[in-house]
Amino acid sequence: MKTIHLDGHEIPFEDGQTVMDCALAADKPIAHLCHLPGYTPYGSCRLCTVKIDGRFSSACTQPAREGMQVESETEELKEMRLGILRMLFVEGNHYCPSCEKSGSCRLQHAAYNAGMLDPHYRPFYPKREMDASHPDILIDNDRCIFCALCVRASRDVDGKAVFDISGRGLATRLVVNSKSGLLVDTDISVEDKAVHVCPVGAILVKGRGFEVPIGMRLYD
């Protein structure tokens, strides 16, 4: 059996698995946001950055190889992850107290686990438009972290290609594939996987806000 070493633990892997795949299978999870098992690795959030044989690499995109020495829970990497999370928070508008996803949000959960008490940086308060055009689905761009899970779900699972990421750097935006640019003019439906993979509160099903009481939410 082929193995890698993750923080001193020997972890088996099969050919074709990434470092993230085999870490998750061995119940030694590495913090991640843009990764979801079964989806094409994307490597955008960099939260799963680990040190492989002394070099930084994202665990979700790196194929496992026999004898790899992988460091994840080191002080250096934890500090880097905290920095990434802080930047993700200040780049968007994350008003947790008013967000329907609060308590079930993977960004928030990752930040709790990283011990993030403050954003450290100056918030950008970017101006982003909300798309409430669709009768059943809401896009709150304030909360988008550009993980592209909805892009991959719509393209690879739903077979519709409703979403894409457009622009670069600070101008990066989630865009909708319709002539008007509005969600109402696409063939998306509320059952689509793309509507349900968002790790934050950027894509929400309307009419279900605050359905789960505080204390019973996913990460409470």
Partner: protein
């Protein structure tokens, strides 16, 4: 006695309510601390203190003045709650020009008699954007939450009163 000052800037006093949720622990606390400026004492200016707790972000000139006075007078300054830490709900106005916010509240809103923008010289002028307190002064510790749970205040104050570094356990870290 340890001297403790608190204030609510651009907040809702919810953090102060949560502080009071320490309930019977407050009896132990008042054995060790004396309150200086605080909504609990109604003292209006801050004197020399060991610890200052700031609730709320910065939305007007007076907020900036108060937080600077706290920094000058408090040995340890703690930003308490979502608004102090990242602007919180009030910073949702940052999406709109200040003129538009004032117009909505005082000129064009529903049910407004005698529409006028308040201009009394005693009113502090609003800042263009709501900002977290760490944009104006150095903050030593942060207590997140909207509001932070009473247990988080306990953990913070217990450590600070002993002269130790506060270590908030993961289950007490909340942003909502």
């Amino acid at each position: 006695m340890i001297r403790l000052a608190t204030c609510s800037l651009c907040g809702c006093f919810g953090c102060h309510m949560s502080f009071l949720d320490m309930d019977e622990k407050l009896f132990d606390l008042v054995e060790k601390v004396e309150f200086d400026r605080s909504p609990f004492t109604d003292i209006k200016s801050v004197g020399k203190c060991d610890i200052g707790l700031i609730e709320g972000g910065l939305c007007n000139e007076e907020n900036v003045e108060v937080v600077k006075a706290f920094r000058e007078n408090c040995g340890i300054l703690v930003a308490v709650g979502a608004c102090a830490i990242n602007g919180g709900i009030p910073s949702m106005r940052n999406h709109f020009p200040l003129e538009a916010c004032l117009a909505e509240a005082y000129l064009d809103g529903i049910g407004i008699d005698h529409p006028q923008i308040p201009s009394d010289p005693e009113l502090p002028r609003l800042l263009d954007k709501v900002m977290p307190v760490h944009e104006a002064v150095k903050i030593d510790y942060f207590l997140p939450g909207c509001p932070p749970p009473a247990e988080a205040f306990e953990v913070l104050l217990e450590a600070l009163l002993k002269g130790e570094e506060p270590q908030l356990p993961t289950n007490l870290i909340h942003y909502d």
